[in-house]
Amino acid sequence: MSTRIEPLGEPGLSTTAERRAVVGQAGVTPSKDWIIVTRGLKREYDMGGEIVRALRGVDVAIRRNEYVAIMGPSGSGKSTLMNLIGCLDTPTAGEYWLNGDLVSEKSDDELARVRNREIGFVFQTFNLLPRATALHNVELPLVYAGVPSAERRRRAREALERVQLGERVLHRPNELSGGQRQRVAIARALVNNPSILLADEPTGNLDSQTSEEIMKVFEELANQGQTVIMVTHEQDIAAHARRVIVLRDGVIATDDRGEAFAAKAGL
């Protein structure tokens, strides 16, 4: 399933359509079918005069409905890649096409809109608002999408029911277990029907049994056709995905089907 885009190096293209055509020559056309296409994605940080090159040119394409794990040791650039895919950050160089849309050149507010519509985040530390109820936490993306409050509540309730938390809608995060909190976060990520469910070490703060439960939720979502991208450093968690991309030193080292990865890792 791995798809690489060869560097094209054709300067002077300005319109989005022209660029899309050029990217398309490599075999992958950024479109509704290819949900993520990156080309020569680079991200450099200026750490007090010293330039840290976190990503040194990543070309990756992910289809709709894929279940992908991004792996790598710390410092490999996987968090940077996740931030870029999640539109929380913009690349220093290269292109990022999301849903056929060139998002690498969007403004802050446009990116906020993309995050709101296209991306559902699940974080290692859950990142729920501590004083708000589960329901209100799940409602938040809809607040920023401008959904009226009655519909907001209905959809938030539905999302919570989808992750088996229909009974706990009015509980606050500190009244919920770690697994339940992560499920609230998943409900929040799904409530606005995003193109991608983007999980950053989703099991990092959970015990192994709860981790398995959360992985089952992801599995189910993937089976239902939800595109899932998961960043993790745990091999056994990554092995749940159907495709595993391993980053090393800011470039893609391997890109395997899930089974192949599991076999290599000896799982």
């Binding site: 906020a112 995050r115 709101n116 938040l140 920023y144």
Partner: protein, 413 residues
């Protein structure tokens, strides 16, 4: 984010941190409280001055021709006093020429007064304000009797020793007896009491009921002024315009009688309730300014406190801001959230301040003779001021919050 959601969020935030919110509100609260209270008291004083004090001293649309003003609310400098002292008095001989030029619609009265020792069979002698006037006086002053009657034109013309007394005079000289028909000695001249005037009340601790009114030509005249001299001619006109016209007529007559050249200023005064209030109006301007300037200091302090608290809130809630941004909040959503929070906070402070200010005004009204009343505009101004202070104080913290980088914000603890 819709405005109502933002307000709800802000109220929830205030509810969660009641004590902190209270201290945040304190500055705005005290500022607004004093604004409301001071404005109420000044307004009350104004009403008191205009209606009670000067209103009782002067009739409606009335001016008094005097050699110098007798109501001096405010400072009169030495030179002015010297000039007043050199002025010729108004004389009885001025009355006919002056009133002869007035239209028939004008009412007039001749007026003299002084403190005179009075005694009765029932009480010890006492100094009382003795006035001798022509009967027009009762109508001009809208004076009414609670028992007995006023004196007639005829009694006035004959100089009959009859007298109408005020409530305080009745209470002192005729305790427990009906004064009408009894005798009162005014400067040792026996007078018959023919009427008791209704209660006039008091202002600034001065009673308006300690007076007697006798016919102008009755014997007391010799005690109130030198022969041929009077204190004032009161002239009441049906309208304010007519009053202005009549004042001009009288001015010309008096200038002629005093043989003033065109370049010379008037050496007599025509006192109106407005001229009596001129100083008060000036003072009121200063008081209102002080009433706004002092609370303004409170509001400035309040806004600095709010700004600080909001900066702390932004720092404390960096992670929340990161979460919101990751979920799709735009800069303006975060900006609006914190602005609305600051505005809600300080408007709530203004609300409490209004309640306290109204309470303070009521307290002053109860404990003092000032009819302190809350001016509706000051409540409106306080609410706007509260919201304004909040927004002004919230701009900087809110814009800082809105500019946070989502990744950094999410990583913060």
């Amino acid at each position: 984010m819709p405005f109502l959601d933002a307000v709800r969020l802000a109220l929830a935030q205030i509810r969660v941190q009641k004590l902190k919110s209270f201290f945040t509100l304190l500055g705005v609260m005290i500022g607004v409280m004093f604004l409301i209270a001071v404005v109420s008291i000044v307004e009350g004083m104004g009403r008191y001055m205009e209606q009670d004090l000067v209103g009782k001293l002067m009739g409606v649309n009335t001016f008094e021709l005097r050699h110098r003003p007798n109501i001096n609310l405010g400072d009169v400098d030495q030179a002015t006093w010297e000039e007043y002292r050199r002025r010729p008095r108004i004389r009885e001989s001025d009355v006919q020429p002056v009133v002869g030029t007035l239209p028939p619609s004008a009412r007039w009265a001749v007026f003299s007064e002084d403190n005179v020792t009075i005694s009765s069979a029932y009480a010890r002698p006492r100094q009382v304000r003795a006035q001798n006037v022509t009967p027009g006086y009762f109508e001009i002053k809208k004076l009414a009797v609670v028992s007995g009657r006023f004196f007639s034109e005829q009694e006035n013309a004959l100089g009959t020793p009859v007298v109408v007394i005020g409530q305080d005079v009745k209470d002192h000289f005729f305790p427990g007896v009906d004064p009408v028909g009894r005798q009162l000695r005014i400067g040792d001249i026996p007078y018959d009491v023919i009427g008791v005037a209704e209660k006039q009340g008091s202002a600034l601790g001065i009673s308006f009921d300690k007076f007697i009114v006798a016919p102008y030509d009755s014997p007391v005249k010799r005690l109130t002024n030198r022969h041929g001299v009077i204190d004032a001619i009161m002239i009441q006109s049906p309208t304010a315009q007519a009053m202005t016209a009549n004042m001009e007529v009288v001015r010309q007559v008096m200038r002629g009688r005093h043989k003033l050249r065109p370049a010379q200023p008037d050496n007599f005064s025509m006192q109106t309730s407005e001229s009596a209030l001129a100083f008060w109006n000036k003072l009121k301007g200063y008081l209102v300014m002080a009433g706004i300037a002092l609370p303004a200091i409170g509001l400035v302090v309040g806004s600095i406190v709010i700004m600080n608290i909001m900066l702390v809130a932004v720092a404390e809630r960096t992670r929340e801001i990161g979460i919101r941004k990751s979920l799709g909040a735009r800069r303006r959503d975060i900006l609006a959230q914190f602005l609305v929070e600051a505005a809600t906070l300080s408007t709530a402070g203004a609300g409490f301040g209004i309640a306290l200010g109204v309470g303070l005004a009521q307290l002053v009204a109860t404990l003092s003779p000032l009819p302190a009343s809350v001016a509706p505009w000051s409540v409106g101004a306080a609410v706007l001021l509260g919201a304004g202070v909040g927004i002004a104080a919230g701009v900087y913290p809110a814009s800082r919050a809105s500019r946070l980088d989502p990744i950094t914000a999410l990583r913060s603890e």
